[in-house]
């Protein structure tokens, strides 16, 4: 039986990718941010997952306003790295896991979540930055990746509660896959940030740390937060945090916190990170 052994939440700021790609992670601006991921890289090496599910949002890259899927699951064998306007990131193409992804698609749809299924998709920094943070700069990514895109660009995104329950359906799907596999799920985006208009640059460390606390100990309370609270307290783009609830729903309610990191800033954004392990598996 496949199982989800752990979940992690993390920001996916594009400038983090640029810092890695241009070799400036050791400078004064970036080193405190990357120091907080050293333990994460050792941890994931130790866990050695057979696949990772990355919950992220597409930033007007693979999806435009032509088609706006609320939840889109990647079932492809490979995903090309997108040009987001600054040229594609120099990172390896992302290999998928079509067999597990298609199994998940069937299980989750019959579990009453009406997913969009994607067989061809370029992936942007929302997916590649978390891989870089967790795996560094390998020639090939160490394991297959299953992308799950959540719309957070067009308001309204799905509710926190819907995301949390989708996480539970993802867990049921993985656990009904008839192969012995260890899976880690990453919930990405946030933390507080606003990229637009006169209020750009908003950071709310108090909100972010309270959110990390809730991720650790009270995920149901976290999932019940209304959108307007994210928009007001964590900035218009801080609403990306709803994606962490998908990850949180896919692991034990009383999962054990093994690592946490918080740093301001990465470009316009507060960077938060938490790793939670299942104790039952």
């Amino acid at each position: 039986m496949a199982r989800i052994v752990a979940g992690a939440g993390m920001s996916h700021v594009p400038a983090i990718g640029v810092a890695m790609d241009t070799g400036i992670t050791g400078d004064d601006y970036w080193s405190p941010l990357f120091a907080g991921f050293e333990k994460s890289r050792e941890w994931i090496k130790e866990v050695n997952p057979d696949a990772v599910i990355v919950v992220y949002n597409d930033h007007a890259t693979a999806f435009s306003l032509e088609i706006i899927p609320t939840f889109a699951l990647g079932c492809a064998a490979e995903y090309a790295i997108a040009d987001e306007g600054w040229g594609p990131r120099p990172v390896p193409a992302v290999k998928g896991h079509p067999e597990l992804a298609w199994h998940m698609a069937q299980s989750i749809i019959l579990d009453e979540f009406d997913l969009t299924l994607v067989n061809k998709m370029e992936v942007d920094h929302g997916l590649t930055v978390p891989l870089s943070l967790m795996f560094g700069q390998p020639e090939e990514w160490p394991c297959p990746v299953i992308p799950l895109c959540v719309n957070v660009v067009q308001y309204p995104p799905p509710t926190g509660n819907r995301c949390y329950n989708l996480g539970k359906a993802i867990r049921r799907a993985v656990e009904s896959f008839d192969k012995d596999m260890k899976v880690v799920i990453l919930g990405t985006g946030g933390m507080s940030h606003q990229l637009q208009s006169e209020r750009a640059g908003l950071i709310n460390a108090e909100f972010d740390n309270a959110f990390l606390d809730m991720m650790a100990t009270d995920p149901e309370k976290a999932a019940s937060m209304p959108h307007v609270e994210y928009l007001r307290e964590a900035g218009s783009e801080g609403v990306e945090l709803v994606m962490w609830h998908v990850m949180r729903g896919a692991i034990d309610k009383d999962a054990r916190e093994v690592h946490r990191h918080y740093h301001v800033p990465a470009s316009n954004t507060a960077v938060g990170h938490i790793i939670l392990e299942n104790t039952t598996a």
């Binding site: 306003l65 306007g85 660009v153 308001y155 208009s197 709310n204």
Partner: protein
């Protein structure tokens, strides 16, 4: 289910909701076209001509030509789309954000290094009067 716009009280913010999306469709799809290097080049070599391919309003068109970033958002632009126009101008996301706040690049960068814009005094339009 209520679709009341409870977020309209947040100052200095355009939430990209249904109304904004309807207004901004062609403006945003123009920006989307700038994902390809070839189109970026074509746009820069003849901005007005390139814009003829997108049936946006005269007002939206002016905001693009004049790079009025906040006006673009007001007229239905979404920042993930308008960022592709900024990228075409070789601006980073942080430089774009600084422009929208009216702060200088250095001043904005320093604000971020010092912990960002505080939430205090920035929750409600009533605090901005």
């Amino acid at each position: 289910m209520s679709t009341q716009k409870d977020y309209h009280d947040i100052p200095g913010t355009y939430v990209f909701d249904a109304e904004q999306s309807r207004k901004g469709y062609h403006l945003n799809m123009f920006c989307m076209s700038l994902r390809s290097a070839e189109n970026r080049e074509a746009f820069l070599s003849d901005e007005a001509g390139y814009l003829d391919n997108w049936p946006m309003t005269a007002e939206q068109r002016q905001t693009v030509l004049k790079r009025e970033w906040n006006e673009m958002l007001k007229l239905g632009g979404n920042v993930y789309y308008t960022a592709k126009l900024a990228a075409t101008d070789k601006l980073t996301f942080q430089e774009l954000a600084a422009l929208m706040t009216g702060m200088g690049r250095e001043e904005y960068r320093d604000m971020m290094i010092n912990g960002g814009r505080s939430i205090e005094g920035n929750r409600s339009k009533s605090e901005w009067t």
